[in-house]
Amino acid sequence: MRFWHRRKEEEFDEEVRSHLAMAAQDRADRGAKPAEAASAAQREFGNVELVKETARETWGWGWLDRLNQDLRFGFRVLTKSPGFASVAILTLGLGIGINTALFSVVNGVLLNPLPFPKPQELVSLHESKPNFGEGSISYSNFKDWRKNNQTFVMMAIGRQYSYSLTGAGLAEQVQGELVSSDLLPLLGVKPVRGRMFADGEDEIGAAPAAMISEGIWNRKFGASKDILGKSLTLDGRSYPIIGIVPGSLRLNVAGFHESDVYVPIGQWSNPLLPERDAGLGIHGIGRLRPGVSVEQARADMQRVTRDLTVAYPEANKGIGATLIPLKESIVRNVRGQLLALLAAVGFVLLIACVNVANLLLARSLGRTREFALRAALGAGRARILRQLLTESLLLSLAGGSLGLLLAGWCTKVALAHLPQAMPRATEVGMDARVLFFTLGVSLACGILFGLAPALKISKPNLQETLKEGGRGSSGAKHRTQGALVVAEMAMALVLLVAAGLMVRSLSAVWNVNPGFDARNVLSFGLSLPPTMKDASSDAIRAALREAQTKLASVRSVKSVSLSWGATPLGSDDEDLFWIEGQPKPASENEMNWALSYVVQEDYLKVMGIQLQRGRFFTAQDNEHSSRVVVVDDIFAAKFFPNQDPIGKHIVMANKGGVAEIVGVAGHVKQWGLDSDDQNALRAELYFPYMQLPDQAMRLSANGTGALLKFDGDAKQVGAAIRTAASQINGDEIIYGAQTMEQIIADSLSDRQVSMIVFGVFAILALGLASVGIYGVISYLAGRRTHEIGVRMALGAKKSDVLKMVLNDGLKLASLGVGIGVAASLGLMRLLQNLLFGVSATDPTTFLVVGVLLTCVAAAACFIPAQRATKVDPIVALRYE
């Protein structure tokens, strides 16, 4: 394009030249002298340059030319003032960078589609029970749902299960997922090798088979080529490997997890599997038929579940189906947080832009002469405006590029530090949308902060400016700068208040008493050797007792208790029961519910839970004695109000019948330090481990929980107990060891992350705003040098000058704080969901933050104020 451009220009030049030559020749022919002829021809022609330019315009690419000119000029101007340019670019880079970083997270988590084919057709499935909206699906119900529905292409279920893998190197516990045959096809997964499960292979009684992940194929089997047909020994049973699942599968959705092994759910040896009313922690997922909406599917499933309720009135009473679009179920917890963060980071960017705008305004005064001159020479206002905007855009694009680099580094660091805090964290990264976002934001910023200064400069009062040697300062300009600073301060205040509230929330949550003493408590899993799989429940009891004694004998262990069922801040499990003396409820859904903790006699010692009344279990409460239970105070208040529960009896639906209440313990926060109080199910029930019915006892051999209290270092204790377990039997495995403190910290990590991020933004905002007010005040003080000189000559003291300048600054700051407080009172309400233990209008936080900001502003004004006092009146007066 440019090449043709030049050629056309040359041609035109030649045409004009030849015209002039011919005209001159003509005149010469008619008798004029050659020199006269040439100049007469020139005059007759007119202004050659003007003609050329007008002609150029008709060629239609004048705009490209002008843009080129503007860009080159702008670039020169900026390189001439490197100080200003670098400050502006750094500020913008910072603001745009954190925006890009956060946006890439929002992009990966909220905006990007899920990594499955046609993800909009996927919904997560749950049974809706009277107590839970999203409850576990039973295997039998699932089979009927799959058969009777008309709106789904495929349905699948899965459940986590950890297997002990033996017979291949070191015995270890592996993460497994019990699946129905269509789970992987539904997600569009293609095996790396071999095949997937066939229809019917997930039925109870089918031949065993398993799929393994690429990860474990590499790790345990050295990626050997003849892996298919080899067998895996899981929990003592042999499963032929039929296929390998690709490592790229991201299965962390809706309760499913990426696993090392996938086993058809029919292979689960849990005797409760075929029970229609069993709640076994099974989650489901479905793919809708093309064109079917979620509403239609919900209506269809209502029909299906209604028919099932009619067919199985006892088991399925009140059971419906809950469908949630898959993406919704993943992001709904984090969406609020992410959007709040995005707003916060937007504020920071605004503050950065305000700073740059102020810088430009300050600089603009030095350039009024330049532009007045250009206007006098004929530049139109639009032209000047375009020039200035080009300069701003250059700055903002440079800032944007810097921001991209910063964002890339930031996101990498952030993701390394919080992998599990965010769902879909692995999908966060820089893609086209993020780049476009950065570009868009940069351009918007450039226009935003460039417009006001540009409008001001491009309309100078020509006469005045050219006359006075450039000192024409107008009050209006100062007002704009002042207003911008006030806006900055207000926004910084809002962010600081938000951060302050988050900090207080987090510390409030940390201080919540969980109901137990988390110090030096280790939680882990224990699985007996696979040989015990078919042992009698008595043999299992003996083996577990042996394990417990052995562990208790380890040096740094103070007390040990096995644990089955629920664990505080961990998994939950429920007991169904009714109170003895009252009529037996017709179905399970009408029974009472309580959180179920199946523990041994040392449990209270391990967890430091307070025993309020009566007694806890002893070694005598075992499989040969009558059943006993201990309840917590909430249970007592709920089911035995104003009575002493001790001595009363309840009838347990799944744990063998009547049990006597022998003690009342303190409540433990099962659901989370901050969320337990809101949960509907809080009543807690403790049951002696050894009194578990035989069925459950046999299950526990595969893997039971345990907790112990230790002295000293957690890692060492972990190693010690692992050694102790393997001394009993090489295939007895201890796995998943975590300290209770860590578990609590993990449960708060979300909150902590929010707080840290908000805190960082708030500090950035504070820093930027301080720089802003510093800049403006020192600029204003600089303009008043003359005035200060006069004052000092007339007798003003240094302290008076100091006070005068500080006053200027404090006026702006307090106005900003005032507006900020007013805005925060309104805005913090939006954060209500993220707060805990502190109100959205908490006066202490507001006060502290307000004072902090004012002090920082005062400090920022101090330096220019000091400088102002150093003015030598004589010098100042001499300056014209």
Binding site: E11, F12, E14, E15, V16, S18, H19, A21, M22, A23, Q25, D26, E44, F45, G46, N47, V48, L50, V51, T54, A55, E57, T58, W59, G60
Partner: protein, 115 residues
Amino acid sequence: MSTQDERLELLQGTLDLLILRTLIFGPQHGQGIARAIQQASEKELLVEHGALYPALQRLEERGWLSAKWGTSSNNRKARFYSLTTAGRKQLLKETNKWKRLATAIGRILDPARKV
């Protein structure tokens, strides 16, 4: 004939019309067109030769003229412009418009006189 100062300045759009008209007699270069207009108007019209060129470019852009390099009568290299078919059509249109305009204005200025 009028002196230099009394010559009339051309209205913008009319220059196009005159150029098109001049080229009816065959291809001509810029100089020639300028001269022709001057002579044909008996030196009444003031045309800055420079103003001609942007107009020529514009007309060429619109497709009413086509241009080619050639040699002039005194052996100088010059760019010759000629009317295209579209140009001819445009000339007819513009001429009609101009005549109607002139008649209308004439009626207003001198209602008695019959044109």
